[in-house]
Amino acid sequence: MSATTSVPDGTDTPTADPIVRIIDLHKSFGPVEVLKGVDLEVHRGQVVVILGRSGSGKSTMLRCVNHLERPSRGTVVVDGEVIGYRIKGDKLHELSPSAVAKQRTRTGMVFQAYNLFPHMTVLENLIEAPRRVKGVNKAEAVKDALQALEEVGMAHKADVYPSTLSGGQQQRVAIARALVMKPSVMLFDEPTSALDPELVGEVLNVMKRLATSGMTMIVVTHEIGFARGVADEVVFMSEGRLVEKGPPSQVIDAPVHESTRLFIDSIL
C-alpha cells in the first residue's frame, strides 16, 4: 500500500494532496471539440480507470496530462506543477519545449503499441532516458534498469532486441522503461488492446503489482475485470465529458447514467 496514505486502516483513501489535477480541460482539433471541460483529481496511490467508447476523448485527455497535446483551455497540474505553463501574475505563459520536456519526467506513459525503440536492446531502451535526460551515470542506470526488468519478469531478456519479444513481453518492458524514470504518476493508454488474448494476463498482473506497490495510475482500458479488482475509482467518459465517477461497485455494477449502463452492457 501507499506509504503516504494518511488513513490508519491503510486503504487507498486519498490524502489531502492530489498528484494530478485536471481543471476545466478543453481540447479542439480544428473545429471539432474533443474535450468539453474535464475535471478530475487523482490522489497519491490511487488507481483511476477511465472507461468510454472509442472516440470519446480518453487518449486525448491522457495526452494532455503529459502535454503530448496542448490543451485549448484549462490546466493540468502534476505534483504541484502546472504542466506546460508558468504562472506570471494572472496569466499562464507557455514554457519552452525543453522546460516542458523536463516536466514530463514526472509522468510515465505506456502506449497501446508499446513503442519500444527497435534499434536498441531492451537494456538500452531502459537506460536511454535516465542517462540522457536525468544524467544518471551508466552503472547506476544499468542497476536500476535490471531491477525494473526484474520487477516485470523480463530480466532474462535484457540483451535482446524488442523485435524478438512477444507483444506481452514488449509491453512489460515498456512499463519498466517508464518506471526507471521514477515518475509520480503512470498513464496507461489501452495497454492490452493490441495483445493476443492469452498475453493480456501477464501485462495486467504487472499492472496489478504496480498498483499494490502504491503507484499512482490513470488507466484507460476496456478490461472490466481489472477495473473491478484494482481501481479505486472508475470514470466513465462520453463525448468529451466525464459523465460518471465513483467506486467500481457503483459505476460498473450500478451505473446511474444511461450511457454508462449501455456501454457497460456492451462490453460485458
Binding site: 520536456a101 532516458a129 535526460v133 524478438t164 524514470m181
Partner: protein, 322 residues
Amino acid sequence: MKTATVTDSTRVDPSATPPTELVPMRYPGRRLAALLVLLVAASLGFSVVTNDNFEWPVVWEYLFNPEIMAGLRTTLVLTGVSMSLGIALGIVLAACRMSENRVLSSLSGAYLWFFRGTPLLVQLIFWFNLSALYPRLSLSLFGGPEIVGAATNGVLNLWAVAIIGLTLNESAYMAEIVRGGLLSVPKHQSEAAIALGMNRWLTFRRVVLPQALRVIVPPTGNQVIGMLKHSSLVSIIALADLLYSAQLIYSQNFRTIPLLVVISLWYLVCTTVLSYAQSHIERHYGRGVHGGAQRPGGLAKLRALGSRLSQRSRSNDNPTPA
C-alpha cells in the same frame, strides 16, 4: 512394416509407409544455359586478353603512372568533399522541406525542382561560365558594399566550380533520400521518446535519426558510387581528375584504349571498396530489425563461428547412427 511398392506415382496405400529419402528436382535446362553463358564469357575474356588492341603491356606501364595517380587523388578528394557537403546540405534541405514554415518548404522544393530537373553536365558548364561572368565572387546585400569576396580565377577556381557544381546537384538528391528516411520512422517512436522527457534534439538524434539511417544508408551508398563516376564530368572544365589525366596522356601518345582500361580498373577498385564498406554500414544500421536476437558484437560473432566449427567437428567425430 510393408513399404510402398508402387513406383512413379504420388499415391500411397493407406497401409504402406512412404519412403523417406528425398531426391531434389533436377533442371537440365538451367545447366545448359549456364554452360552456354560461361562459354560466351570465356571466349570474350580470351579475346580481351589476347586482342593486341588492348595493349596490356601499355596498361601495365600506365597503371601506376604519377599523373594517373594524381588524377585518382583528385577524383577521390572531389568525391569525398562534394559528397560530405552534399549530405550536409541535403539534411538542411530535407529539414526545410519538412518544416511547417511555408516559405522554407517551398524554397526548398524549388531548389530540388531546379537541380534535379537539369543535367549535371549543364550545371557544371553553367558554374564554369558564371565564374567567367563574375570576375570576383563577393557577398553583399542588394548590391551594397562587399562583405566577403574572392577573385574567381586560377586553379582554385576550377576546384571551386567542380565542388560547387557536384555539391549543389548532390544535395538535391540527398535531400529526398533523407526526407524519405525521416518519414519512414513512425510518429509513435518520437512520441515515446518525448513522453520519456527527451527533448526534440535528443529525440531526433537518438531515436529518429538512427532508425531513419537504416533507410537512408543504402541509397546514399549508391549516391557515393554514382558521385565517384559522375565526378568524371568535371573533365569538361579541364580539372585534372582521373579521366582528364588519362585524356591528357592519350591526346599525346594516342594509346586511347589502354589508358581508358587503366582508369576503368581504378574506378572499379574504388567502387568495389565502397560497396564493401556500404554492406558493412548497412548491417550496423539494420540491427534489431533482421531478426538478430543478440547484439552482433565482434566477440559474439567469433564465438558463434567457434561453436559452429566445434559442432561440425563433433558431428564428424561421432556420426549419428542412421
